[in-house]
């Protein structure tokens, strides 16, 4: 078993592939990191203009050169990460095109400014770190091998302790100091060699992180895009579910319902016109007729729960007055929606009211209900209030949970106030612009 620190030490040993790879990565970056500042600085070292116009001219020229270089540099860094580390730095998604093309258009994108932050601010620091790293490797290697060539070196002890001592003493001290020096410097070299891989790994980590943050896609933008994308997809899914409900409704209406009506009609006809049928046979016919009528009633209820045709044809007001009229309680209905809203929103509002009324009838023991559906700015506000026993709890009733879920599917808000003893008020707000 190898303990984690030991494993970590072994992984960062100077002779590992990772150490050399990280070092190669850091060193390969250095010239690229230096490039932008070299362009900005070098002209001033060879020629210093004196008049303002020339100064501005040189500034503008170098700036444009840096702009022109930014994209190729970015590409080079991306390639470097891939070639040396096998690390992918994704490209930012292309921005929607405008009239301006090329560098001028790029000027207006945030991506370019993020890239420049990498090339001009982060880059030099990483370049300097790479230089220090190179120094560490070279110095480490040089010092670690000190013992091998130290005997060739003149004794350069600045204190020269032995100079004034006796021969024997001089030899001893000289040998001692030399040995100590050799030991210390060799140890320092080994320490540098041991530390270099850690430094290389640190540079690699920092560089990659900076590249991903500044050369890759913008996180915030990316999230924004993703949220938009997901919201769009969810709206599609909700719409599709709604369309599906309407399709099922139509299929049921055109198929099963017509057949059932026809069947019930025939049975009714038989019941009315057949004479001389034995009593038991007649009883069967009567039962079948009643069953068929009951099935028809159930089917109508099912269709109403799905997506009634009246909602699609005539809108919320008509559909809700149908719902309210079937409630065996006095219902005060107010629908004030001047314009039709999106079919999906209408469907949710319809569902909310019909479910809420079903709940009221089943559980509330109310004497009357008030239903209000009004357009309130950008939202459709639905309110169902009864004077019943209260104590409705979304945590317990599955009806209320389903209701809340359906409301959430269109980003609506759901609120129920129902103290024990009543009254109960359910308020739902549905945004009309999805």
């Amino acid at each position: 078993m190898v303990s984690p620190p030991a494993r970590s030490l072994r992984a960062h040993a100077p002779w590992t592939r990772a150490a050399w790879r990280d070092t190669a990565f850091a060193l390969s970056g250095a010239p690229l990191h230096a490039a932008c500042w070299a362009i900005l600085v070098l002209p001033w070292t060879v020629w210093v203009p004196v008049d303002t116009l020339s100064v501005l001219g040189v500034l503008a020229a170098t700036f444009l050169a840096v702009l022109a270089l930014a994209r190729p540099l970015t590409r080079a860094h991306r390639e470097r990460a891939w070639a040396v580390l096998g690390a992918d730095v994704p490209e930012p998604p292309p921005r929607p095109g405008g009239v301006l093309r090329g560098p001028l258009r790029a000027l207006r994108t945030e991506d370019l400014w993020r890239e420049l932050r990498y090339h001009l601010l982060v880059g030099p620091l990483l370049g300097a770190a790479a230089a220090l790293l190179a120094l560490a490797w070279a110095g480490g290697a040089g010092l670690a091998a000190y013992a091998l060539y130290a005997w060739k070196l003149p004794n350069a002890d600045p204190l020269d302790i032995g100079a004034h001592a006796g021969t024997l003493a001089r030899f001893t001290v000289s040998l001692g100091s030399h040995t100590v020096r050799t030991a210390v410097l060799t140890a320092a070299g080994l320490a540098l060699l041991a530390a270099a891989p850690w430094a290389a790994a640190a540079v690699r980590r920092l560089d990659l992180r900076a590249m991903r943050a500044l050369l890759g896609p913008d996180r915030a933008r990316e999230l924004e895009r993703r949220v938009e994308d997901l919201a769009g997809k969810r709206a599609d899914v909700v719409d599709a579910a709604d369309l599906e409900r309407r399709r099922i409704e139509r299929d049921l209406h055109d198929g099963a319902q017509q057949r059932l009506v026809s069947l019930a009609m025939n049975l009714g006809l038989a019941r009315e016109t057949l004479t001389g049928v034995p009593e038991p046979a007649m009883r069967v016919i009567v039962e079948a007729h009643e069953e068929a009528k009951a099935a028809l009633t159930e089917l109508r209820g099912l269709i109403r729960g799905l997506h009634p045709a009246v909602l699609e044809d005539r809108g919320l007001d008509a559909a809700l007055s149908g719902v309210a009229a079937r409630v065996p309680l006095p219902v005060r209905l107010r629908v004030d929606v001047p314009e039709r809203v999106a079919a999906t929103v209408e469907a949710v509002a319809y569902f909310v009211v019909s479910e809420a009324l079903t709940n009221v009838v089943k559980h509330a023991g109310a004497a009357s209900v008030e239903v209000e559906v009004v357009r309130d700015g950008p939202a459709l506000r639905v309110r169902v209030a009864d004077d019943g026993a209260g104590g409705a709890d979304p945590a317990r009733g599955t009806g209320l949970t389903g209701l809340a879920r359906r409301v959430r599917s269109v980003d609506g808000t759901f609120r129920i106030v129902s103290p024990p003893g009543g009254p109960t008020a359910l308020t739902v707000e549905l945004p009309c612009a999805l």
Binding site: Q258, V261, T297, A309, D313, R314, A318, G322, R332
Partner: protein, 215 residues
């Protein structure tokens, strides 16, 4: 009695034809869309047209519009509309000009053969037949007007009147005596300030008042 049927579902059309012919009606034409209906009515001059509300090409309210045309151009032809759902506005449109010889029922009511045939005969004879659901919806909207002065029982009576029932029918439905029904009806007439006039006219006015609550 001569009948024209307009119904786009082949199955139901065939069923209706069989039902009506078995029950002593004469089906002179059966069509599947509104234009055909108008042509058939013009050609055959039937006593009654049984019309589906939703028909080609638009599948919305072709039947209602055709019914309004028939009532205007051929006042002698009674119309019974059948619909997948009831819409009080259609009822109000239908009854705004004429209150006799008009019926408006849910399609499912066809299944209740004897009640359906009763409604057919009533409409053909110049009466009305409104679906209980239409009546319920209409009542829902009339909570705050003069009709509010009616007692619940009187509202029940008025609703049944709107459905087109006779005093005997109302009495049967409410399981009260016919004289009690007559008393309620008189009370309704008084509360709605309806003048004395001949025969059934006041009944019609009461129903109209009931239907036109917000008109």
């Amino acid at each position: 009695m001569r009948v024209v049927i307009a119904e786009d579902s082949v199955l139901l059309r065939a069923g209706l034809i069989k039902l009506l012919e078995t029950s002593g009606f004469e089906v002179v034409a059966a069509v599947g869309e509104a234009d055909g209906l108008l042509a058939a009515v013009a050609e055959h001059r039937p006593d009654l047209a049984v019309v589906d509300v939703r028909m080609p090409p638009g599948y919305t309210d072709e039947g209602v519009r055709a019914a309004l045309v028939i009532r205007r151009e051929s006042p002698g032809v009674a119309v019974l509309l059948l619909s997948q759902y009831v819409e009080e506005r259609y009822a109000a449109d239908l009854l705004s000009e004429h209150t006799s010889g008009i019926g408006y029922l849910l399609k499912d009511r066809v299944a209740d053969v004897s009640a359906f045939l009763d409604a057919l005969r009533r409409v053909a004879a110049g009466g009305t037949a409104l679906d209980p659901e239409v009546v319920a919806q209409l009542l829902l909207r009339r909570n705050a007007d003069p009709l509010g002065r009616l007692t619940p029982r009187e509202r029940d009576v008025l609703a049944l009147m709107a459905e087109g029932r006779s005093n005997a029918g109302i009495a049967g439905a409410l399981t009260v005596s016919e004289s009690a029904v007559a008393k309620h009806i008189n009370s309704i007439f008084t509360k709605l300030d309806l003048p004395h006039a001949e025969g059934d006219h006041r009944r019609v006015l009461a129903v109209l008042r009931f239907l036109d609550g917000d008109a």
